[in-house]
């Protein structure tokens, strides 16, 4: 690991330092620092800041950036009203990691693309302009949607998929102390020509909390398909909330993990479901919409039919329609 200066923040202003990297749980950052994939010169430890509460009311919930993944998953409000979020958190990592990893840090997890973590390989995300060894290489776990010719990495977070389905907004404290809110759609950038830039966060920005509006009544699920039944990243995951009234789908919000550089959501797919009577033909149509632009890279071609089947299984579970 490269040497760095360690600074312990006692107030949010301390996080505003030129060139500094923020550390909280550190479960992903320290791993990448050991591999020298990330080489910060200054680490600002924000774990002493007052960002550890979960405040729920009738309109929604505000989750402090330092709430651990395990505290969030076990919170009674989250288990009752935001079950997809509890489910997604519990489907990720291990008991030890969930006890350390934080809400803000989970959003900023880096891809598990093996070329990103291998410093002997070219990677446009780690070393801009060096090329992408995953395209034409081993890409079984990588993206079929939203990728570019520069980068086909996937975002690894389960939590962020649930948050995307729940219309979460990220509260960001800017370098000047100004607070702004960003939807996850705006927060995460697609790789395009600059895969090294993953979010809208700029220098001095600090994630302070996540705001989630209370979802409409409905069924919540998080369905994750992976190589092992525990402690493995998603090949494909579907999280969402769906409500039925009078035999028709009244509302549906669905987000997908394992498919794209960011938690994926498709408004057209949701519009196609709402107002319809759930049946197999409708579920097929939804999958057609989701995968219309899907592009396999060879090893990961299997994700296209897998995503179709996973979405259909999720819709059967959400609607109770088995045919």
């Amino acid at each position: 690991m490269r040497s760095f200066e360690y600074i312990r923040a006692s107030k949010p202003e301390d996080a505003v330092r030129s060139g500094a990297t923020i550390i909280a749980g550190g479960t992903n950052l320290l791993d990448l620092m050991k591999l020298e994939v990330m080489t910060p010169e200054t680490l600002v430890d924000v774990t002493r800041l007052d960002m550890k509460s979960i405040d729920a009311d009738d309109d929604g919930v505000r989750i402090g950036a330092l709430v651990t993944n395990s505290d969030l998953a076990a919170d009674p409000h989250i288990r009752r009203d935001y079950a997809v979020l509890s489910r997604a958190l519990l489907a990720g990592a291990s008991g030890q990691l969930r006890n350390k990893a934080t809400t803000g840090g989970n959003l900023l997890q880096r891809t598990r693309c093996t070329y990103f973590t291998d410093t002997s390989q070219p990677c446009n995300k780690r070393d801009p302009g060096s090329g992408c060894a995953a395209i034409g290489g081993k890409n079984r776990i990588l993206a079929i949607l939203g990728a570019s010719e520069k980068c086909i990495a996937t975002h690894p977070s389960d939590m962020a998929v649930a948050m995307r389905a729940l219309d979460a907004r990220v509260e960001i404290r800017g370098h000047d102390g100004e607070i702004r809110l960003a939807t996850l759609d705006d927060f995460y950038l697609l790789p395009g020509g600059n895969p090294e830039k993953e979010t809208i966060l700029g220098e001095g920005d600090l994630i302070t909390s996540i705001h989630i509006p209370k979802p409409e009544p409905g069924k919540h699920i998080y369905r994750k398909v992976r190589d092992r039944s525990s402690y493995a990243f998603a090949l494909v995951s579907v999280g969402g909330v769906l409500g039925i009234e009078g035999g028709k789908i009244a509302h549906a919000s669905l987000a997908f993990g394992g498919l794209a550089p960011r938690p994926w959501r498709n408004a057209e797919l949701e519009h196609a479901l709402v107002g319809q009577t759930p049946d197999a033909a409708l579920f097929d149509r939804a999958a057609d919409i989701l995968l219309a632009d899907a592009k396999g890279q060879g090893d990961n071609d299997f994700k296209i039919p897998l995503a179709r089947r996973t979405l259909k299984a999720a819709l059967r579970e959400l609607t109770g329609v088995s045919q």
């Binding site: 479960t27 430890d45 998953a73 489907a91 291990s94 030890q96 990691l97 350390k100 525990s230």
Partner: protein
């Protein structure tokens, strides 16, 4: 950098490079070599310790970030003369072969049983708002962050169930002991 680490209820003054992981601080600076370095990347669980009562991977933690925290290692849960219920159960059930993962297994199980007692759900819990019952499936899911390359899992699982039984509120300690004597 000068820091004080509270380990097993004893404060220790240390001078550390900020890069020092909590695991390396314990092993190389405090001679507490019970916590093991397996993968050093948070994948195997051999380095598991408790921080403020919660299990974490000490390899993915910077020692300097844990000043003021209460750290408990395998040396703090029992001694050869006074073993913890889990330690005794691992011996009874032969919950190891080479023994390298054992301190991590025991620390993880210690934290895990606290999580169950607090009613935390897991990925395999059917009802998020229901009671938490430590079934075989629950145990495997909750212990998935600890690997045993010897694959002594049957003994590990039996040991954790045994200790959990003893830990259960209202458990009949006498009948548990009688059953054990009979089994031996």
């Amino acid at each position: 950098m000068k820091i004080t680490l509270n380990v097993n209820a004893t404060p220790h003054d240390l001078e550390l490079d900020p890069r020092t992981s909590l695991l390396d601080a314990l092993r190389d600076h405090l001679d507490l070599t019970g916590s093991k370095k397996g993968c050093d990347h948070g994948q195997c669980g051999a380095c598991t310790v408790l921080v403020n009562g919660r299990r974490i991977n000490s390899c993915l933690a910077l020692a300097v970030m844990h000043e003021g925290d209460e750290i408990t290692t395998i040396e703090g849960v029992g001694t050869p003369d006074h073993l913890s219920p889990l330690q005794k159960a691992f011996i009874r059930h032969d919950g190891y072969q080479c023994g390298y993962c054992t301190p991590g297994q025991i620390m993880s199980a210690t934290g895990m049983l606290n999580e169950v007692a607090e009613g935390w759900p897991s990925n395999v819990t059917a009802d998020l708002e229901g009671d938490t019952d430590l079934t075989r499936e629950e145990l495997s899911e909750r212990m998935s962050g600890n690997l045993c390359r010897c694959s002594a899992y049957p003994g590990i699982v039996a040991a954790i169930f045994d200790a959990a039984e003893e830990d259960r509120p209202g458990a009949d300690q006498k009948s548990i002991e009688e059953k054990r004597v009979a089994a031996e």
